[in-house]
Structures are given as C-alpha cells and as structure tokens.
Assembly symmetry: C2
DNA sequence: TGAATGACAGATGTTGAAATCTGTCATCTG
DNA sequence: CAGATGACAGATTTCAACATCTGTCATTCA
C-alpha cells in the first residue's frame, strides 16, 4: 500500500498538487494533504516548516517545468538567433495559453499561488530573462542583433511581451485579435533588435 | 445652502467621488451618496439607473481626465513625431505613477472601479491607441517611422509599454530598476519603429 | 405635473459564536 | 532513536441570524 511507503517530500508535493487541484487554493489545507497521504498533519510539518513553504515548493516545481520546456530552444545553437527568439516567445505564450484554456480552475489556482510568493516568481523571472539573455548574446555575436547590454535588452524584450505571458492577461488571450496583436508586438520588437 | 440647489448628475458625480474617496469602493453605497447630498436615495436613482451606472460615470470622468492631458501632446504637430511619442509614453507613465504614489488608497479605489467596467475601460484604451495612431501616422508621413498599418502598430506600441501604464503593475513602479526598464523598453520600441 | 420621497421585497453585507486549521511539542512506536 | 502521532493554543474560517443596501413604485409635495 501507498500508506506503507516512506513519506518523502516528493510524495507530499504530489499529494499537495492533487489537493490543490481538487479543492482549489482557498480550501486546500495541510490537514487535507495529510489525510490524502494517510498520515497525521504533524508528519507533513516534518518535511515543510510551514504551509507557505509547502505551497512555495509546489509553485516552484510548476514554474520549473515551464523553464525546462523553454531551455531546449535556448540550447539549440544550430538555429539562427532570430528564429530561436521568435520560437521562444511563441512557445512561452502557447504554453501559458494552453494551460489557461485547458484547465482554467487549475490555472487560476496557480495564479493565486504565484501571487503569494514573490520569492519563487522573481527567481523564475530571472531564469527566463537569463534564457533570453543567452539568445540575445548569441545574436549579437552572430551580428544579427544589436545590443550593448544583452541582459538589459533581455529584460526589455520580456517586458514588452508581458501581455502574452503574464497570467493576469489570461482572459484576453481568448480575444480573436490576440494572435495578430502578438505577431505585431514580436515583429516590432525584432525590428528594434536587429543590427 | 447646497441642499437647496437643483440636483444634477454633475452634483451627484462629485458627491460620489467624495464618498468613494472617504469610504473606499467596497463601502461606498448609494445611500451614502444620497446622505452626502441631503436627499433620499430614490432621487439618485432618477439620474442613474443603477449603482453600476453611477460608478461607471465616475470612472469615465476619471479616465477622460487622463486622455485630455495626453491629447495636448498629440495635437502639438510642431514637434517631431519621435519626440512626441517619447513624451506621450513618459507622460502616461508619470501620470499613473504619480496617482499611484500620491494617494494609494484612491488609486486602489479606481483600480477596483476600472476592474468592474470593461466597457468604459475599453473605450478609454481605444481612445489612447487612437492618440498613438495619430502620432505614428504623422511619423510615417514625415518619413521617420515605418508602418504599413499605423493603427495596428499603435496597438503594438501600447501593448509593449503595458507594464508602465497598466495599474496592476503599480507596486513595481517603486522598484529602483523601473526607470531604467522604462527607458530600455522605449528605446527598443522606437528602434523598431524607425524607417 | 414633474421632481422628490420613503416603504418595501429581495439581494448583499455584517457579526459573533462555533468549527476548523496551523504550527508546536511531549509522547509513543518499531 | 528517528520518525510518527495527536493533543493543544492561538489564528483563521464557516455559518446563520441580523442589518443594511439596491432598485421599484405608489404617494406626496411644490
């Protein structure tokens, strides 16, 4: 039985994701998580100091999955930087848009979680702008992009496309104009980037 | 006495702004507004069909004040389009940042109101992108900007700078990196716009 | 006669007591 | 003795009775 397996942080995180999926962020309690695992809630506190720490760990896992999917595009240095940048921005947008569209309740749950944890989100954003920085550096090295501070330019690119990855705009992603708007922003930004 | 003056929509709007300022959006009631004016709440309903309509009218007034301030920059065709575009974006950002910084509670009140009324906000955004369109058209005519669809380009410019005028980002406007981030975004966008 | 009133029904918000949850820790168990 | 337990105090949430608000309208007032 599952209940006889060792209680690990990993198992607790999985149970927590399930409880969050079932009950939503407002009603998911540590007691619920313990009940789902067949242990006392005191045992959960052996692995996570607070409920907030548990939620942060779940959020971090979720955010890291997004980062990993995009890291592949950054790493593929065989393709030209402009192509990679376009793909990276499109992939980020599509990933978010699908999550928001496929399971709106779960997405709303994670929006609440990310809203709680400036820490984990800030790290995630640093991670993403770091990925952008690498693509832009490659582009500068290849002579196709112009930038005297790739990290600052990466931040700017990330900011300009905020409407297409910041979850607060998720309701607008269903608007039929959105694809044209996204294309217009990416074209404008890439024009600004070219050497 | 004020109580003997004719009850006009204008007077009701002024009283409503005051009640919102005093009580905040959650506790500002039609009864409060009527009390402030020394009339029965039934009289308020003679001028505004619903509480939502009253709030929308207040919101519209507030948004229109922002539009008017920026219209002056659009109208000054003696200055070159790039300069006007930079000034327009900076003026929009500064206006919002000051409102958010000077009276955070009132600003929060209006954020709640705008969140309620997609209608009035959508019109305001159309108004602002219309102003941007005119500047861009002037730039295209003068040969300094390149765009085959100034209205679409205006939307793109507006979207790229969302982080610096969308009130949801207001807390971040206090971050010391914000001015550099704003400058980086505007520079990137203007590079993309140049012919 | 046209604007203002206030009583009213149904919707929404407030309040405070009871239930549940968070986080700790002395105790238990394999 | 490492890990799990459950009782506990204080914090937070729930729930139902009560109060207030919204929107209508027959009546009053000037």
């Amino acid at each position: 039985m599952a209940a006889t397996e060792t209680l690990t942080a990993e198992r607790i995180l999985e149970a927590t994701e399930e409880v969050l999926r079932r009950h939503g962020p407002a009603k998911a309690t540590v007691v619920d998580v313990a009940r789902a695992l067949g242990v006392s809630h005191g045992s959960v506190y052996r692995h996570f100091r607070t409920k907030a720490a548990l939620r942060e760990a779940v959020t971090k896992r979720w955010l890291d999955r997004t980062s990993e999917a995009l890291a592949g595009i950054v790493a593929d240095t065989s393709r030209d930087p402009e192509r990679r940048l376009r793909d990276w921005l499109a992939a980020l947008f599509e990933a978010k848009r699908h999550k928001a569209g496929d399971d709106p309740e779960l997405f709303a749950t994670y929006v609440v979680l990310t809203g709680e944890q400036g820490r984990a989100v800030a790290e995630h954003l640093d991670d993403l702008t770091g990925q952008l920085t690498r693509i832009i550096e490659d582009g500068v090295a290849a002579g196709v992009f112009s930038s005297d501070d790739p990290a600052a330019t990466a931040r700017a690119v990330f900011h300009t496309t905020g409407r297409f990855h910041d979850p607060q705009y998720a309701p607008e992603w269903k608007d039929p104009r959105t694809d044209a708007d996204f294309a217009a922003v990416v074209d404008l930004v890439l024009r600004g980037l070219r050497a």
